[in-house]
Symmetry: C2
Subunit: 251 residues, 2 copies
DNA sequence: CGTTCCCTTGATAAGGTTCAACCACGGTGG
DNA sequence: CCACCGTGGTTGAACCTTATCAAGGGAACG
């Protein structure tokens, strides 16, 4: 699935150009290293940054008073962090480093400037609209998919994202999440995640043994995930294509 | 909760101005009436419109091949429709009129122009970012809230939206959704929605008897929904404040 | 006056949670 | 070197929420 088929053709040029400009801004800003468990963004601290994650994984976390916890988003190297909340006074939830991370940051006040130029404004809007699509796809799965299907989607999705960024080539990859974190991402309990993983293992579909994931039967995994494309076609290296197509997208 | 406290102060003026401009565009375009069940937007037809819903309710619907169905969004009078998919070649799913609706439409190609001006670009990005927040709030609830809580959130949420647009003043309102539609929105089955509604009725919290909803005990309903603000404070008439605060927002 | 759409209720089953115990592994300190 | 501890994974049993299947009822409508 090429980019041009995903976004409206008349804005395609702006999108590419805007992306280039934003990448340049990140490229020109200093790198920073942060150890695992560093809180990169918190609703408490009003000062805001936008991040480009270069190495290591991170995730967004939301907690309720009564102890319920959700991980709405998982960030892998190459992801941009903080854009969807850049227009708000305070982000909705915390972003935490899962591993030691390396990232580049720019002040969120540049958003004011981004919105002044058509190219960057278009790309900015595109980023948020992608975040919206992902959030909604996740909501739809939580509404109607069972545990195994959700797990399959997550594995296919992460594998796809890493593959498009050329961070993996084979069907196995590094997944630095604990089962508790997977549970919080999929809206399940750790016990049930464990049992569902055992099912995938026994069925020889995928082996998840932290931190290694080995996908043994991609066809069945994709089928479980509700995807019927065989994947591996039209892999482009252009970063706009790096976004993961939603499982909910019709064929 | 005032607008200025929700959005970043430096973009507030642009936001207000951008909203004004967009409202003017809709205001200048012809009104259209469509009967119930009209398909306003479909992924099949590539031509795209942006709508301002003036009267009647609508909803977005997604269906899977195996018959599973989801209603990701419910639109009430005053809502804008189609912005979150305006940058894509094709919308992700259908938008259907639940009742006879009256709406104003503008061609989606104006988005190109909107993005060229800072004020409208800012407002456009804001609209999408609001859609993102709502989608994520919904995902979080589907992940960790049980049936009664989801139902309570929905009722409080809709009541709040109607109240802010001054479409209702009392604690009862018109809800033109069938129980099947409620189920598809909340990720439940019609049978369980029915039983959960019975619970709310027996507990004298709310009576939902299509098409009338009567909220009998707002305090308990809000408590079930996870909201502890008493509401009714700082009601502003400015439309930016019409958006519903997420239940997930901290206090 | 039958048909259609929607609501309601009962019985039963499945999927997921909770509670609890135990295991494996990698420190770390005596 | 080993005892100890913390973190994370694994498993069993009981339980609960929600789904599924099935049947019936009422209101609106041609």
């Amino acid at each position: 699935m090429s980019d041009q088929s995903r976004c409206h053709p008349t804005i395609y040029e702006d999108l590419v150009q805007g992306e280039r400009e934003l990448h340049q801004m990140f490229h020109d800003s200093p790198s920073r290293i942060a150890p695992a468990k560093t809180i990169l963004i918190t609703p408490e601290r009003p000062s805001q940054w936008l991040y480009a994650l270069r190495q290591g994984w991170a995730c967004r976390i939301r907690e309720w008073p009564n102890g319920r916890r959700v991980i709405p988003e998982i960030y892998v190297p190459g992801d941009l962090i903080g854009f969807e909340s850049a227009l708000r006074t305070r982000p909705a939830d915390e972003v935490v480093a899962i591993q030691p991370v390396s990232l580049q940051e720019i002040g969120a006040d540049v958003v004011f400037g981004l919105l002044a130029r058509r190219t960057t404004a278009t790309y900015f809007a595109w980023l948020i609209s992608e975040a919206q699509r992902r959030a909604e796809a996740r909501a739809n799965r939580l509404a109607r998919f069972d545990a195994q299907e959700r797990l399959a989607v997550m594995l296919v999705d992460l594998h796809e994202r890493l593959r498009r960024r050329e961070l993996v080539t084979a069907t196995s990859f590094n997944l630095p999440l604990t089962q508790q974190q997977i549970a919080d991402h999929l809206g399940l309990t750790i016990v049930h995640v464990n049992r569902s993983l055992r099912f995938l293992r026994e069925e020889k579909i995928a082996i998840v043994d932290r931190p290694i994931v080995m996908i043994r039967d991609m066809a069945r995994l994709r089928q479980l995930a509700g995807r019927h494309d065989d994947g591996g076609a039209e892999l482009t290296t252009h970063s706009l294509s790096r976004e993961t197509p939603s499982i909910d997208e019709r064929e």
